[in-house]
Amino acid sequence: MDAADFAISPLLEPRPVEGSKDRTMILNMGPQHPSTHGVLRLVLEIDGETVLRLVPDIGFLHTGIEKTCEAKFYQQVVPLTDRIDYLSPMSNNLCYCLAVEKLLELEIPPRAQFLRVLLNELTRIQSHLVWLGTHAMDIGALTVFLYTFREREEILKIFEHVSGQRMMGSYFRIGGLSLEPPVDFYERVQKLLRMMPEKIDEYENLLNGNPIWQNRLKGVGYLSAADAIALGVTGPPLRASGVDWDLRRDMPYSSYEKFHFKVPVSDVGDVWTRYVLRMQEMRESVKICQQALDGMPEGRLNADAPKVVLPDREKMKTQMEALIYHFKIVTEGFAVPAGRVYQAIESPRGEMGYFVVSDGTAKPYRVHMRNPTYASLQALETMCVGRLLADVVAVIGSIDIVLGEIDR
């Protein structure tokens, strides 16, 4: 086998360096590089240790999920959405369900909405814990990972308890939620919420005073507000650049307007600020979860739409009508009125949007996902150019990329 078999497109060519006999060097980083959080390939042009150009090469994890969606019934798409952003499956579930519910013009009962908010905020904490652990590990602080994964495991246990799966819960349904939460679910969430603020203090104690952590993060990866908007950046990196924008507060969905929380914003725009904001966001999420627990309304868990929502087991076995609905939904799905909607939510990484087009049949005509880190990746070059090679790793960590959602 000769070298040509391994040839990959060069993307960048070395150039002569001005005022010197040297040429710049092309460095290939990834796709199998631990700090790229998956299979991201970066091609960098460097002069010494300074980054001159940077080109991301993605698509290694492309599985054609959008094409697959077109061959499934509406309700069968929910498990696929888990697998896009595998660190925040519940956010994906929610966004897709909201989009289809908007097409169907379904009314979701308040209790289901509150539970959805609760689970989404737990997802946010969980996702930020993975981000913090891996980000710190990239910088060289290995211990933090062990701490954050300890609490993450607690949250995953709650997810397993409620949905039967640690990560790919598929707990959300079009019209509500799949099952009644188990009896001690609320107690377990309460226990976690009581413990969490203390644990966040613990992470901050580990990191904030650490001179290496400060030097590697402060002033690195600057992004201005204008650049952030022009390059499509959303979520914590956008707020760290001084744009006060959070979909939960500014365009509320799933009854977020009933919750009181602060949206942390800062205009420093570096990696350190993104770290600080995410830590504050976790604290706010704990508060939102607490409000959801305290104010949990009574009532149904699913919309009153027998043609869309599966009947519960008991009814299915005793009532002829429920059995027929069950049979119909499972075998031929349900028709969704023709139209198109774009529904966006604030996922842990930024604006996640689902664009669903219906042609009036039981299968979506087109499902498109707008994923936050796909857009944020475009800002990587702006943040890294002119800085040291080692900073690239810190910047990648700060936009919290998940290749599953970038490549889909």
Binding site: E66, G232, A344, A375
Partner: protein, 165 residues
């Protein structure tokens, strides 16, 4: 365009005359607004193909400052077959607008809006890769998801979903 849709367009545009984007578009390129619909609280405007960059610039200057998404729908076997959808968000107004451009399959080409929003770069590459709609004036129109040497555009409706290719 038949009489009904012309009427629908005029009704929708009149109902949203207070929206800065609609007002600005009507002032700048009124003849290029082909159709309009307001459905499920979402405003969609169909723009003539050669006016899309101008429309994007007008909408941006009218306060819709953030390009959230660009994607495409394949209406095979209907012609014009491709419909490029631009989802644009206004941070100030807390509102969204959708611009659409219809493109036929003989000459699937639209002007790139990367001069207006650099963030369109990846989205347009994705539409080119998966649908085969070209964007003229794009700085780097290469495949993004599929390998460079791939043949065909997988999200087209006539692209097979199973079997060997």
């Amino acid at each position: 365009m038949d009489m009904d849709s012309a009427q629908e367009r005029d009704t929708v545009l009149a109902a949203h005359a207070g929206d800065p984007a609609v007002a600005a578009l009507e002032a700048a390129i009124a003849g290029s607004i082909v159709n309009a619909r307001f459905d499920r609280n979402e405003l969609t405007l169909w723009i003539a193909r050669d006016a899309i960059r101008e429309a994007a610039r007008t909408v941006r200057d009218a306060g819709y400052n953030f390009l959230a998404d660009v994607t495409c729908v394949d209406w095979y076997p209907a012609e014009p077959r491709f419909e490029v959808n631009y989802h644009i968000l206004s941070h100030g107004l807390r509102r969204r607008i959708r611009l659409c451009v219809l493109v036929d399959s003989l000459d699937p080409e639209v002007a790139s809006i990367t001069p207006v929003w650099p963030s369109a770069n990846f989205y347009e590459r994705e539409v080119w890769d998966l649908f085969g709609v070209r964007f003229s004036g794009h700085p780097n129109l290469r495949r993004i998801m599929m390998p460079d040497e791939w043949e065909g555009h997988p999200l087209r409706k006539d692209y097979p979903v199973e079997g060997y290719r």
